[in-house]
């Protein structure tokens, strides 16, 4: 009786182990990729993952959207503390300094080298690469979805005031907005002043005017950097925006109020906005029938020598503590994303720009930028490559930058609600922002940015 039982058990165990062992040779190595995009964009990422899995048999990437950038970082930190982190994670631009000090990553360039991939880092647009590279130029993460801010303008409204070109200087903008107002347009220009718009209003403006946001070359040279936007050209910019707002030339549009900037522009309500090239597709799909519109580089103040604008979006970090097999898979995945053909797929479907010169050239040679819905997106590349990045325009490397952006939104709201003057508001922004930077520095005593 027991003999028979044992025999069965042995047989069953044997069958089981062969069943497990057999596919072990063919079974691809699985690894996780967490990302922060949602909706339409998440579906594009899912397709990207399927394409990668179909392109080879050795690895399988499991892609999971975490909803948004904030949640992705929070969940990854929680997972990391519990030892269950994904192999690859998408982290937004402003999380870069936090990631660099986390000690929780494997440098992307080392990973590629160890696994035998030769990446030509000079191929990346410098404005993009330097945001994610150390001060010595090592790429710790790979740029993934990249964008920059552009001026969207309604050609019909400008035609009404006798203009056929987008304004190139802020002086022109002021005159054009006034002319449009006089021509009967209710909302010549729309802005929003929440934390997120710090990107267009403060960061992009400062870069193209070669104005610092913080000392120590925007934080690249040390954790003891402190804000200084209360004494740069930015003060004049906010003063002008506020003046135009008071004169009714600028309206505030946000989702909380019922209509965001992009909707206000696409519906023809507002004639000028500044937003990411990532919204190019949305405007193209949703604009009012028959509306003529185009994009241009963000204006500068007269007499300014234009510099490159900043990259926005996110990069891919490979986290530490995974197996060699998973690292091999992660390296193959990064290599796949780096491929110009993937760049074409990605940009066609999203509105994000290619991050390498070869990707851009490949798309140009495919006639991408001549096609109707994509025309104008090359302006983003022109803006990003307007100059060789300076010490200031290569990026912003400040700890807890999300909180600083929140402080930006708070102070802008106080300024626009006439609770404080422009100078008082910006002084408070600097004071509170410095306290945030102080705290970050205290949290990482004795550490320096790589």
């Amino acid at each position: 009786m027991t003999m028979i039982k044992r025999g069965f058990a042995a047989l069953a165990a044997g069958a089981l182990s062969t069943a497990l062992a057999m596919p072990a040779f063919a079974e691809p190595v699985k690894f996780d990729f967490w990302f922060g995009l949602s909706g339409d964009l998440a579906r594009v990422v899912d397709t990207l993952c399927k394409n990668f899995n179909a392109s080879q048999t050795d690895y399988e990437v499991v892609c999971t959207s975490q909803g948004n950038y904030d949640a992705t970082l929070q969940n990854t930190i929680a997972a990391f503390r519990a030892g269950k982190q994904p192999a690859v994670v998408q982290v937004y631009d402003v999380g870069t300094a936090t990631m660099m000090l986390s000690g929780a990553y494997k440098p992307a360039d080392k990973l590629m080298e160890e696994n035998g991939y030769k990446i030509d880092y000079a191929d990346y647009f410098p404005g993009i690469a330097r945001y994610y590279a150390t001060s010595k130029g090592e790429m710790l993460s790979f740029p993934f979805n990249s964008s920059t801010a552009l001026l969207y303008w309604n050609k019909d409204a400008f035609a009404k005031i006798g203009k056929t070109e987008a304004p190139k200087t802020w002086e022109d903008v002021g005159a054009d907005l006034k002319a449009m107002k006089d021509a009967g347009y209710e909302c010549p220009m729309a802005i929003n002043i929440s934390a997120n718009e710090s990107w267009q209003l403060m960061e992009q403006f400062s870069a193209i005017h070669n104005q610092p946001i913080a000392t120590k070359n925007n934080g690249y040279d040390g954790l003891d950097a402190r804000l200084e936007v209360n004494k740069t050209k930015f003060v004049q910019y906010v003063t002008d925006l506020k003046k135009w707002y008071d004169a009714g030339l600028i309206k505030i549009k946000s989702k909380d109020l019922g209509q965001d900037m992009v909707q206000a522009f696409a519906s023809g309500t507002c004639q000028v906005i500044m937003t990411s090239v990532g919204d190019h597709g949305t405007v193209g799909k949703t604009h009012k029938e028959g509306m003529n519109w185009d994009v241009a580089e963000l204006p500068v103040y007269a007499g300014t020598e234009r510099k490159n604008s900043l990259v926005g979006g996110a990069s891919l970090w490979v986290l530490s503590g995974k197996s060699d097999a998973e690292y091999k898979g992660a390296a193959a995945f990064l290599n796949f994303i780096h491929d110009p053909k993937t760049a074409l797929f990605w940009s066609t479907n999203t509105g994000y720009i290619p991050v390498t010169k070869s990707g851009f050239d490949y798309m140009k040679s495919n006639g991408f930028y001549d096609k109707a819905p994509y025309k104008g997106r090359e302006t983003a590349i022109a803006s990003l490559t307007a100059s060789e990045p300076t010490e200031i325009t290569r990026g912003v490397r400040l700890g807890n930058f999300t909180q600083i952006r929140a402080e930006f939104g708070t102070q802008m709201q106080a300024i626009f609600a006439n609770k404080v003057s422009v100078q008082e508001g910006l002084d408070t922004l600097v004071k509170n922002g410095d306290a945030i930077l102080d705290r970050f520095q205290q949290t990482y005593p004795g550490k320096t940015l790589p």
């Binding site: 909380d256 109020l257 609600a417 705290r439």
Partner: protein, 294 residues
């Protein structure tokens, strides 16, 4: 002979309480203890290094003007929304307690708002109160800019107060109605026969008999207005404009989760906990004296 298993009352008490105690320990005492520990250190978000700083986190928070603004906003919010939610619910319950035609229908309808999840409710109110497209857009067309929760802090505060009270009117209503119904009819009928009017009967008979309920709801409403307001603030105002609606519980969330300042957020949550404890003790010490338990 009858077989009987006997436990000492002490053992059986513990036995029954163990599952509950375990849950409370896991979900309250342990995290609360963790929060106390974190509030005394500087936590690196990714782990790996924690620096003992003693009371520095508390010092830096209490020296921060934004934090005091957040405390003031929370107190204003708690005071007005609790008052509003309790007063309206009391009036409605008193009315539906009477033999009105259709009072059963009113009861059902009035209880519903409490069943709506805060985010859904907040979304609905965001649409209703949107200055350009919402319910109040008509007055904005007459006097442009008069209703502007996106830039005017008082308007934004009013928005979240309305949304929060809306929800708690339903909750309070259930309790008030039950309290009214527990009052013996004969008392009220006798008073009516003696010739007292509706108002008189309310103040002299009904009101004293429902003071325990009023007291209970006051404690619950105040506590909830400090804690349950999170979803409404997050969706309707995100703490803005210019921090006008940055209630304590929302500031904890944004500093801790968005800002990755775990220690600062832990210190703030300790302060919030202490504040709620103090408020509750205060209510039991000074308001409960007036409660008539019958």
């Amino acid at each position: 002979m009858e077989k009987r298993v006997t436990f000492s009352s002490w053992t059986i008490g513990i036995l029954f309480a163990v599952p509950q105690l375990l849950l409370i320990f896991t979900f309250f005492y342990w995290p609360a203890g963790q929060a106390v520990y974190w509030s005394l250190t500087l936590q690196q978000p990714w782990g790996g290094g924690n620096i003992w700083v003693g009371l520095d986190n508390f010092r830096s928070i209490l020296a921060n003007a934004d934090y005091w603004n957040s405390i003031t906003a929370s107190l204003v919010f708690a005071g007005i929304s609790t008052g509003l939610a309790m007063f309206i619910a009391l009036v409605l319950a008193a009315l539906t307690d009477r033999q009105l035609a259709g009072s059963r229908l009113y009861r059902v309808v009035l209880i519903w708002p409490y069943g709506i999840a805060a985010p859904a409710l907040a979304l609905a109110f965001r649409f209703i109160l949107a200055p350009e497209a919402g319910f109040l857009s008509a007055i904005n067309r007459m006097w442009p800019g008069i209703w502007d929760p996106g830039l005017d802090g008082a308007d934004a505060m009013a928005s979240i107060i309305v949304a929060f009270s809306w929800k708690y009117v339903g909750y309070n209503f259930i309790f008030f109605l039950a309290a009214f119904q527990a009052i013996p009819r004969s008392l009220i009928e006798a008073a009516a026969m003696d010739g007292s009017g509706v108002i008189r009967r309310f103040w002299d008979i009904q009101f004293p008999l429902i003071t325990p309920t009023i007291f209970f709801l006051l404690v619950i409403n105040i506590t909830e207005s400090f804690q349950d307001s999170f979803g409404i603030v997050d969706i309707m105002t995100s703490g803005g404009p210019a921090n006008a609606t940055n209630l304590m519980v929302y500031k904890i969330y944004s500093d801790g989760f968005k800002g990755l300042d775990y220690s600062g957020a832990a210190a703030q949550s300790i302060i919030l906990m202490l504040l709620i404890i103090v408020l509750t003790i205060f209510q039991f010490r000074f308001i409960e004296r007036r409660v008539h338990y019958g």
